[in-house]
């Protein structure tokens, strides 16, 4: 026993516990930075896979008539685009950021449960690969929409049970990731890092993790009920056996509504981290930001049926879900006002991360406005299931979550790699994205109001003009994202050649701990707790 210990100590003297060499480093790694990188790279790849599917959709919709794909494949594309983007791109990318940044922001040496961290990543890969394999099955990939509504989902052919098993794997992976985040934040904060001193990114992730733990089992339960309905003769959702197809929608959206907040709350966190740095001012209303995030998370559990206003609910139900949904505007408004107040009387500069963050505040607010419009139940009887909805949730996801992920990339790449990215190309990427994303999604408001339903492969002639504009925007937006890939690779390889300081951005170390460690961040950080906690907010 003693010998073993001695040997271990000896080992320690010669090595800095750096990464292993070769591919095994990535397969077996338990290092939060390596796993963070894996998640981020995986998310970026899936962003392009999901994006390619979106371009298939926009190609088909470029002109009226069916030109390229069969309607069934079109439906598979809308279904898979959503599943890949939600579960393959946005969520993993934010988990990647959490892995990289949470330990560094709270002064911890690693995540609390490193082995489970590794497992949750590889389970995600397994889940997504299983989902992707359905594309090659008889009858094609799932085509009943990412919401899996019965009874339509039962017509899905061979892919049905595989899609459900894939959802189970993704759910387990998410839950493990969430447990890890909570355990890390509650147990591993450096001395002096009280909860109310944590950067907002950490706060929003903490709340997101609780959302995930609460909702993923519900989703797993819902799809398992689908499975037993199809193969084991239960009839949860079949009226002929005493069930109700609308029951599924209630269960699904009890998961589904918090799920969209899983994608937006960390977005808020990153924006609240970036804007103060470039405004050279502390975040305005830190405490109210925390409370607003909590309020939004709470409300997300009690508004689900606003996704189903036309399903045939009693008046009392309509009214309740309308009022509850309207309430979300209040804490969300507080956040937007706080970001504006943070910029107010600052000393702003407009590097790429700041540009993406400002665009996020503006365009996310537009998505918030349409959200407010459709919270009004009676008018939603017109908006529901049209392109107006498509425009709404893409505004809250693309120029919000995706823009902020890009901003996070530009913001932290210098810290991760020790190299500066090319600011000129970064700005080009921003302006191309910001303009084209509006060409892509703004006309969809007009289409929806004019009467174009969602999820149709072909449309009436009066919808032709704006669909063409939207498709052109989609191609510009899609291809301009390749600039980001170029920048990431270029920065890893040395970027502008300029060596960046520990702080990277002016006075950034006043805001958060990651800017106090060297750039690039060493393989192990905060093996000893930080001496000083940034307390700028107080």
């Amino acid at each position: 026993m003693t010998a073993v210990v001695a040997e271990h100590d000896d080992h320690h003297d010669h090595h800095d516990h750096g990464p292993e060499k070769g591919v095994l480093r990535w397969i077996f790694t338990t290092n939060h930075k390596d796993i963070g990188t894996l998640y981020l790279v995986f998310g970026l790849i899936m962003f392009f896979v999901g994006g390619a599917m979106a371009l298939v959709i926009r190609s088909e919709l470029f002109e009226p008539g069916l030109q390229f794909v069969d309607p069934n494949f079109f439906n598979s594309m809308t279904t898979m685009h959503a599943l890949v983007m939600v579960f393959g791109a946005v969520m993993p990318a934010f988990v990647g950021l959490a892995n990289w940044m949470i330990p560094m922001m709270i002064g911890a040496p690693d995540m609390a449960l490193p082995r489970m961290n590794n497992m949750s990543f590889w389970m995600l890969v397994a889940g997504v690969l299983l989902l992707a394999s359905t594309l090659f099955m008889e009858g094609g990939a799932p085509s009943g929409g990412w919401t899996f509504y019965p009874p339509l989902v039962f017509q899905n052919g061979k892919s049905f049970p595989f899609a459900i098993f894939s959802v189970h794997l993704l759910g387990i992976s998410s839950i493990m990731g969430a447990i890890n985040v909570i355990a890390t934040i509650f147990n591993m904060r450096a001395p002096g890092m009280t909860l109310m001193k944590m950067p907002l990114f950490v706060w929003t992730w903490l709340i997101t993790a609780f959302l995930l733990i609460a909702i993923m089992p519900v989703f797993a339960g819902a799809v398992t009920m689908l499975l037993t309905d199809k193969f084991f003769d239960t009839s949860f959702f079949d009226a002929a056996g005493g069930g109700d197809p609308v029951l599924y929608q209630h269960i699904f959206w009890f998961f589904g509504h918090p799920e969209v907040y899983v994608m937006i709350l960390p977005t808020f966190g990153v924006a609240s981290t970036i804007i103060p740095v470039f405004a050279r001012k502390p975040l305005f209303g830190y405490a109210s930001m925390v409370y607003a995030t909590g309020a939004i998370a709470f409300l997300s559990f009690i508004v689900w049926a606003h996704h189903m206003f036309t399903v045939g609910m009693p008046v009392a139900g309509e009214l309740y879900f309308m009022y509850a949904t309207m309430l979300i505007a209040i804490p969300t408004g507080v956040k937007v006002f706080n970001w504006t107040a943070t910029m107010w009387k600052g000393s702003m500069t407009f590097e790429t991360p700041m540009l993406f963050s400002i665009a996020f505040v503006v365009l996310f607010t537009m998505g918030g406005f349409t959200g407010l419009m459709m919270s009004v139940a009676p008018v939603d009887f017109q908006y529901h299931d049209t392109y107006f909805i498509v425009a709404h949730f893409h505004y809250t996801l693309v120029p919000a979550s995706i823009f902020i992920l890009m901003a996070a990339g530009y913001f932290w790449l210098p810290k991760w790699t020790g190299n500066m990215y090319n600011e000129k190309i970064g700005r080009l990427h921003f302006w191309l994205s910001a303009v084209s994303v509006n060409i892509l999604f703004f006309p969809q408001h007009f289409l929806g109001l004019a009467g174009m339903p969602r999820r149709i492969p072909d449309y009436a002639i009066q919808f032709a003009d704006w669909n063409m504009v939207s498709s052109i925007g989609a191609f510009i937006y899609g291809f301009s994202q390749l600039l980001f890939v170029y920048i990431v690779i270029d920065t890893i390889r040395g970027g502008t050649g300029e060596k960046v300081s520990d702080e990277v951005w002016e006075d950034a170390s006043k805001h958060s701990l990651e800017w106090t460690v060297p750039s690039p961040a060493p393989y192990h950080t905060f093996s000893t707790p930080p001496a000083r906690i940034p307390t700028e907010h107080f």
Binding site: G65, T310, M348, V361, Y459
Partner: protein, 376 residues
């Protein structure tokens, strides 16, 4: 700089040109033709303007700040980071605005639900992929499919949708309603969930299998109003439009009488020439079979079997009749097809070059012997 301006002007002109060339698109929600749809339109505009004003205030402040409070202008950052008064104000004002919105919205929710005291009822059944209408008072009963021109055009890539009037928004038999009458709709579905939407009436309602939903309308203005299914219902979800024709009461009464007369007519079982059988058979095929078995008869691998070269289609005629009338676990029973349509269909699918079959026979309507005992 000059070049940029020229480019900008050029783009604006192009956008305008696009606008004038196709003047039939709209940007905003339609007002519709009922009191209810107008109420909803006003509510929509109210909230839209509230959003516009909040947007101007917030974005205005932000852009003022972005313009003036920048480092390049030498602005020094102030270090304030909270202000309880301001934070309370910007929590309370939105709350008051929301209350202001909720009052008319509540009234509209209640109005939408007022199905009582209706003067007539129409049962709407969503099916993959057409609508079935049943007038509960007069007994009129028919199916409403996508019109033949749209059906063919969207299935044949060489045909241009621009040549089809009301492409994808036209049906063979529209729903006819009288103006100035409160009409109650009952919605249900036979297979999966559908949703019935006519924007001019102001609402959509889901049609759930096994359950009945209600909605109502009172159309003020005669006219033709078009809409679509809005709940994803499978492969041909985009191809099951709704057309409502509202007409004056006397015209409507005449329509009911004519439709009932036709409905009660016995099918004409007299012999037809082979060409007539084939031509009519194509229409029957387009309406009932094409959604699954496709326009070229190839079906869809993994979903729907091919008719092209199929033993079941080209083999024994009697068995084929029984097969179509009784259906299978996967295919619905087509006992609804009258003998004349069935004869036309069978002649068509056994001999149509479009389906690649050429048995070289035909069957006349009076030769069809029912393989399905109708107990009803």
């Amino acid at each position: 700089m000059k070049k940029t301006k020229q480019l900008l002007a050029c783009l604006v002109l192009m956008a305008l040109g696009l606008g004038t060339a196709h003047a039939d698109y709209t940007l905003n929600l339609m007002k519709g033709v009922t009191q209810l749809s107008n109420e909803l339109y006003d509510l929509h505009m109210l909230i839209l303007w509230i959003c516009v004003f909040i947007g101007i205030a917030v974005f205005g402040t932000m852009f003022y700040s972005i313009y003036h409070h920048r480092k390049s202008k030498g602005h020094k950052a102030e270090q304030f980071h909270e202000n309880t008064t301001v934070e309370i104000i910007w929590t309370i004002i939105p709350t008051l605005i929301l209350v202001g919105m909720a009052i008319p919205a509540t009234k509209a929710v209640i109005d939408l639900d007022k199905v009582q005291d209706s003067e007539m009822s129409i049962k709407v059944t969503g099916k993959q992929w057409y609508w079935e209408y049943e007038y509960l008072d007069s007994g009129v009963h028919f199916e409403s499919h996508l019109d033949e021109a749209s059906e063919k055009t969207h299935r044949v890539s060489t045909m241009d949708p621009h040549n089809v009037p009301n492409y994808l928004l036209n049906v063979d038999k529209p729903l006819v309603v009288p103006v100035g009458k409160k009409i109650r709709f009952l919605f249900t579905a036979a297979d999966v969930i559908h949703s019935w939407w006519v924007p001019d009436l102001g609402w959509k309602k889901d049609a759930n299998p096994g359950f009945v939903n209600e909605a109502w309308t009172y159309v003020d203005k005669p006219g033709t109003y078009r809409g679509q299914c809005t709940e994803l219902c499978g492969r041909d979800h985009g191809f099951m439009p709704v057309v409502v024709i509202a007409m004056e009461q006397d015209q409507y009464d005449a329509w009911v009488k004519a439709t009932l007369d036709k409905q009660n007519q016995k099918p004409d079982l007299s012999d037809q020439t082979r060409n007539t059988l084939m031509a009519k058979g194509e229409s029957v095929y387009l309406k009932n079979c094409v959604a699954c078995h496709q326009i070229d008869g190839n079906g869809i691998s993994g979903w729907f079997p091919a008719l092209r070269g199929s033993e079941k289609v080209t083999g024994n005629m009697d068995q084929l009749i029984g097969f179509i009338q009784a259906g299978t676990s996967k295919m619905p029973a087509f006992k609804k097809l009258p003998d004349d349509e069935l004869a036309e269909l069978i002649t068509y699918i056994r001999n149509a070059p479009a389906l690649g079959n050429n048995v070289g026979d035909e069957i006349q309507p009076n030769k069809i012997t029912p393989k399905w005992d109708d107990d009803e």
